[in-house]
């Protein structure tokens, strides 16, 4: 045993380290992130500012400057009276078309894909993995390879040009990623839960609807977010499989802004652009972490 008395404090540093106010390294990190943030926020700022100005002010001034005189005229015009071709009822038509497309597409594609994921995890049958592999490969096949034959299929089914045709297309092309999402989620649930439900006499649908779905609300939310943004933002399928009456908002927006006729009304164009971006943007801002989780889940585990 050491019996010598131990001094209470020895010379040299003791206790908590004296803090410098802000380390220069940290300062650089924040500066870099701030510059990046400006680059990312600039377009949003310009959109909002331009959409609140009158055309005379735009012609004179600086697109980054805030409006001297705020006007909501461009928003009203973009929504209700901007012209595409002969139609002059504004983007509202495209907005409602998009709603009519997105709602059934999201519901049907998620219903189908979640059942796929469930069957793939819990009720494997001969060949199920093969079909799934093909499905995943399908996610990487350029759409351009499949669009024309799908035109023929939709025409044969009598769905070409209708909202329901586009719903079918979105269900098909959303299937790989959403099926993967659900398959990975269901595979992460304990298999014993499924076994317990079988011993309890629940069947294919009973286990799915009464045991798995109630405990899978987060992943359903992620899928809904992913699908709403994806389908709302679609342009290619909208322009191919619908006709001017049923064009989704993105297609109508492009037609308004990039039309070659007439005088360019930049404020109306920016208001229209903002209006189109507003739906996915609000979903993104409201859902926050779930959105991130959705793209990470869809991507990393792929």
């Amino acid at each position: 045993m050491i019996d010598a008395p131990f001094p209470r404090t020895l010379s040299g540093p003791a206790g908590s380290r004296p803090r410098t106010r802000i380390a220069p390294k940290r300062l650089m990190i924040y500066a870099a992130l701030l510059i990046v943030s400006v680059y990312y926020l600039l377009p949003l700022w310009v959109m909002v500012m331009t959409s609140l100005k009158g055309m005379p002010e735009i012609r004179m001034g600086n697109i980054f400057a805030p409006p001297v005189e705020i006007t909501f005229e461009p928003w009203v015009k973009a929504w209700s009276s901007a012209c595409t071709g002969l139609n002059c009822d504004g983007l509202s038509r495209g907005f409602w078309n998009s709603v009519m497309i997105v709602v059934p597409s999201v519901v049907i594609s998620i219903a189908v894909a979640s059942v796929n994921g469930y069957a793939l995890v819990n009720w494997k049958f001969r060949g199920s993995e093969v079909f799934f592999t093909i499905l995943l490969f399908g996610a990487f096949i350029p759409y351009q390879v499949m669009i024309y034959p799908l035109v023929i299929i939709l025409r044969e089914l009598g769905l070409m040009g209708s909202v329901w045709g586009l719903v079918l297309v979105h269900t098909i092309f959303g299937m790989p990623i959403i099926t993967l999402l659900f398959r990975n989620y269901f595979a992460s649930l304990p298999e014993e839960l499924f076994k317990a439900a079988r011993v309890d006499g629940a069947g294919f649908w009973g286990i799915f609807l009464r045991v798995l779905v109630p405990m899978s609300l987060p992943i359903f939310t992620v899928a809904v977010i992913l699908q709403i943004t994806g389908i709302w933002n679609d342009f290619l399928f909208g322009v191919i499989y619908t006709k001017p009456d049923t064009y989704p908002m993105t297609v109508q927006l492009n037609n308004i802004v990039n039309s070659v006729q007439g005088v360019k009304e930049y404020n109306v164009n920016m208001a229209a652009t903002l209006l189109t971006g507003l739906v996915p943007l609000s979903i993104y801002l409201i859902s926050g972490k779930l959105f991130v989780r959705g793209i990470a889940a869809g991507a990393v585990k792929g």
Partner: protein, 297 residues
């Protein structure tokens, strides 16, 4: 059902098979069937309507002697390489910055990722406005006193890809950042402690230890970004519509225009088959790598 009889093979798991029918049909009819249909029809001289009137490789000969297709391919290659490198490098730098236990991390991440929620159409139209020579950046800089300043990529065939890159990276880098950030977070905290104890500087730890450990995450990003690049279409339509002239045409746009504007289906089929081939060249090695990796586990 009596317990002693083995149920018929086809009827076993019947509800599962019925429920998977949409998936089976999608896989077989759309992904395989439609792709094969297009490949087969690329060897025909279909114009307004698809016809099984085989002409060998004529469509491909014509495709590869069409200046617009050659420009499209060149554009895709240049844009693709630049976008790939820049989005991975910038994405990683941003992810590493966000990983420094900073304040407002959620805020910064929200800002970097929000463009990803917007469509390419919206992205293209905003940047078209910002790059507008009469009102946008060029006008502002001139207003500051640099009268001869020129920055008009949308109307300069040599710079138009630059405009596409600015807009494309603005929209897509956030995704790469978020995925790489998740990858960084997945790295064992003890690695950092060990490096600190060994006295290895942070940048060296990233370069020699962390990045090699994140190879699968980088591979995923690579595949995702590449797949997006090959499909590049909406952004071009909104930002430049292929102009000036044919300076910013892309293969996807070539396919669409051949099929739906020029009534030249055969060209569209041949061009899309070339796109499929490109993707297979990227995907197949990756899939084999992944598959081998999984088998090792």
């Amino acid at each position: 059902m009596s317990g002693r009889d083995r149920p018929a093979q086809l009827l076993r798991n019947l509800p599962a098979k019925l429920a998977a029918l949409p998936m089976i049909l999608t896989a077989l009819v759309v992904f395989i069937g439609c792709s094969l249909w297009t490949v087969v029809h690329s060897f025909t001289k279909s114009r307004l309507l698809p016809k099984l009137d085989f002409v060998g490789l004529d469509q491909y000969d014509r495709l590869w002697s069409t200046p617009r297709w050659l420009v499209s391919i060149e554009n895709l290659a240049i844009y693709g390489i630049c976008a790939l490198i820049l989005s991975l490098v910038l994405g990683f730098v941003l992810a590493a910055l966000l990983d420094q236990k900073i304040r407002f991390e959620d805020g910064f991440r929200t800002i970097i990722l929000y463009p990803y929620a917007l469509s390419f159409i919206v992205t293209g139209l905003v940047w078209q406005w910002i790059l507008n020579p009469d009102f946008g950046i060029q006008n502002i800089v001139r207003g500051l006193g640099f009268e001869s300043f020129v920055f008009d990529p949308l109307h300069n065939p040599d710079q138009v890809l630059f405009a596409l890159l600015i807009a494309g990276l603005w929209q897509g880098t956030g995704l790469v950042t978020v995925i790489l950030l998740a990858g960084l977070r997945g790295i064992d905290e003890d690695i950092w402690k060990a490096a600190r104890v060994d006295g290895i500087p942070a940048w060296k730890t990233y370069l020699r230890v962390v990045i090699p450990m994140m190879r699968p995450v980088f591979a995923t990003c690579l595949v995702l970004v590449s797949a997006g690049i090959v499909k590049l279409y909406d952004l071009v339509v909104a930002l430049t519509n292929g102009g000036p002239g044919i300076a910013s045409e892309t293969p996807a746009k070539y396919v669409y225009d051949s099929m739906f504007n020029k009534q030249n289906l055969g060209q569209g089929f041949a061009a899309s088959t070339m796109m499929l081939l490109t993707v297979l060249i990227i995907i197949v090695p990756w899939a084999m790598f992944e598959f081998r990796g999984k088998r090792r586990d």
